[in-house]
């Protein structure tokens, strides 16, 4: 990545009060404009804590021992796992307005902004609905709309799809892809859904025991199969199948690395079969 980082954590260590060990150790991390960064790791690895530290909520809103430095330029938005626990408005419009009223903007401006962000997340016409009666995917999109209302340069999301059904999860990942393309927002998202992350992220971090064990562009990241399996991370089936095909000589290893989705592997496989037949004749 080129240019100046938008956000930097340098040598960050953090220990929650009443905890015997560090939740984060030796964290060095820079986020650049427009990149999409995934965070994977087993339960209790510190994924949520890392997002809180990126957002500045750790140490600001928690008691504990913090050392290291955080530098940030530009607005941040944060979306948590279960949006429902954060909803306070009776309507979708109110929900988004609450997040803006604290920023001291004029009513007209707020109204215009609400219209814009609802359009952005594909929820036009939802302004007067109750956030509580929406589907899981729609609720999460309202939470994302509230975060976007502040026009953040960085959006942090903590397991935004873990409580959603497949349709809701697809809606959220499609929205994030669209934001990446159209808004040039830097997105950081933690998730166990490695199949989706492989298709969507530019770069992925593996967090284990509060440390960043891997920080790589997406293809080299998923090439580290042994390391991922050691930490209990699901390596997507498409990648495992590709490696088996390489081992048995069905296809030759691709110079760019592992495939990131089904269609990619299917294309490589068809090409290998065609050139295989050509060799025979």
């Amino acid at each position: 990545m080129t240019g100046q980082p938008l956000l930097r954590l340098e040598n960050v260590r953090w220990q929650y009060e009443d905890s015997a060990k560090h939740a984060l150790s030796d964290i060095n991390l820079s986020l650049y404009p427009g990149e999409v960064v995934g965070i994977v790791g087993p339960s209790a690895a510190g994924k949520t804590t890392l997002l809180l530290a990126l957002g500045g909520l750790v140490p600001r809103n928690y008691s504990g021992q913090f050392s290291g430095e955080r530098r940030v330029t530009g607005e941040l938005g944060i979306v948590f796992q279960d949006p429902e626990t954060q909803f306070i408005g009776l309507t979708v419009e109110e929900e988004i307005a609450f997040s803006l009223e604290n920023s001291g903007q004029a009513d007209e401006e707020i109204e215009q902004r609400i219209g814009e962000v609802l359009k952005l997340v594909g929820l036009e016409g939802f302004a007067l609905r109750s956030p509580f009666e929406l589907s899981g995917g729609e609720k999460q999109r309202v939470a994302i709309a509230s975060a976007l209302a502040h026009q953040p340069r960085i959006l942090l999301l903590d397991e935004p799809t873990s409580e959603l059904d497949p349709k809701g999860a697809r809606e959220v990942f499609q929205l994030l892809s669209q934001l990446k393309r159209e808004q040039e927002i830097t997105i950081v998202v933690s998730s166990h859904a490695t199949e989706e992350l492989a298709q969507f992220c530019d770069r992925i971090l593996l967090l284990a025991d509060g440390r960043i064990e891997l920080d790589l562009p997406v293809r080299p990241f998923f090439g580290k199969v042994e390391e991922l399996e050691k930490h209990g991370i699901l390596v997507p089936d498409v990648i495992q199948l590709y490696l088996q095909m390489c081992r048995t000589g069905v296809i030759t290893a691709n110079k760019y690395g592992v495939p990131l989705h089904v269609d990619e592997l299917a294309e490589w496989y068809r090409e290998a079969r065609i050139s295989g037949r050509r060799d025979e004749t």
Partner: protein, 278 residues
């Protein structure tokens, strides 16, 4: 195999125009391992809750071992079929893991030695025997899910119905729970799982019930269900990645559903290729 749970023309709903279940008929034999899939509001949880009388049909009948669920209490039915909530915290309320798992057997009025033995067995089955004195609430979500399953095992029901038991777990947690369910199935229990995870359906289920708008849209093997694109669309799910690859690659039927099956196909293809070339 013999019938354990039977639905006959079951409908459920408080208002005629808002039926959550519509004319569902099906039979569950002893020893089956079934996945229930479907989108939000498809009726899959409602269907699951009819299996042990948590919900009773507004028309039609559900029978468990030949007896109408309307004629029995949930407590009675739970000895045969137990329901495990989606959120383990909905059923965890005791101060130690041992007490939590002992709660059900105590309510059955069993003698203390029997309770002790059942709890020990159930905790061993889920791999939590070392944690019997720990407080259930302070453990990880995966552990709380295992506690919920252990509480059910201690009741020794013939059938266990689980509503999204792997939601929110990391991959190790998912694998542990599914390995446990497979072990229970092999030990003779009937298992019914509501899930959104098609990879799990492909790897573990022997039969799939697809719900759509309160109706049983499709009832078949994973192989049959994943081959029906229009059914998957209505259920708002995608076939597992391996299956979609097989279709895109033009593999012949039956298209592999799991990574293991696909690896076998790759090896076979390689051997065929070598035979032809030599």
């Amino acid at each position: 195999m013999s019938s354990l749970i039977r639905f006959e023309n079951v409908s459920f709903g408080y208002e005629a125009d808002k039926q959550v279940l519509k004319d569902v008929s099906l039979n569950v034999d002893r020893g089956e391992l079934i996945a229930i899939i479907g989108g939000n509001g498809s009726g899959k949880t409602t269907l699951a809750k009819h299996c042990n009388g948590l919900y009773k049909p507004t028309s039609g009948t559900v029978t468990v071992k030949g007896r109408d669920t309307r004629e029995q209490s949930v407590a009675e039915l739970s000895r045969t079929v137990t329901y495990c909530y989606q959120n383990p915290d909905h059923q965890i309320f005791q101060s130690t893991i041992f007490e939590e798992v002992a709660f059900g057997p105590k309510n059955l009025g069993l003698p203390q030695t029997e309770i002790e033995q059942r709890v020990t067995e159930a905790l061993a089955a889920v791999g939590l025997e070392q944690m019997r004195s720990a407080e259930p609430y302070f453990s990880s979500k995966g552990t709380r899910q295992k506690i919920a399953v252990a509480s059910i095992l201690a009741m020794k029901p013939e059938a266990i119905v689980l509503d999204e038991p792997t939601t929110g777990l990391d991959y190790r947690g998912v694998r542990d729970i599914m390995a446990l369910l497979r072990k229970l199935h092999q030990a003779g229990h009937t298992i019914i799982v509501v899930t959104h995870d098609m990879k799990l359906v492909a790897e573990y289920a022997l039969r799939v019930l697809v719900m759509h708008q309160g109706r049983l849209l499709c009832d078949g093997t994973p192989q049959e269900v994943f081959a029906r694109q229009e059914v998957l669309m209505k259920a708002q799910v995608e076939a597992p990645a391996v299956y979609r690859f097989g279709v895109a690659a033009g593999w012949s039927e039956p298209v592999p559903l799991t990574l293991e099956q696909a690896k076998v196909r790759v090896t076979e293809e390689r051997m065929l290729h070598e035979t032809r070339s030599s």
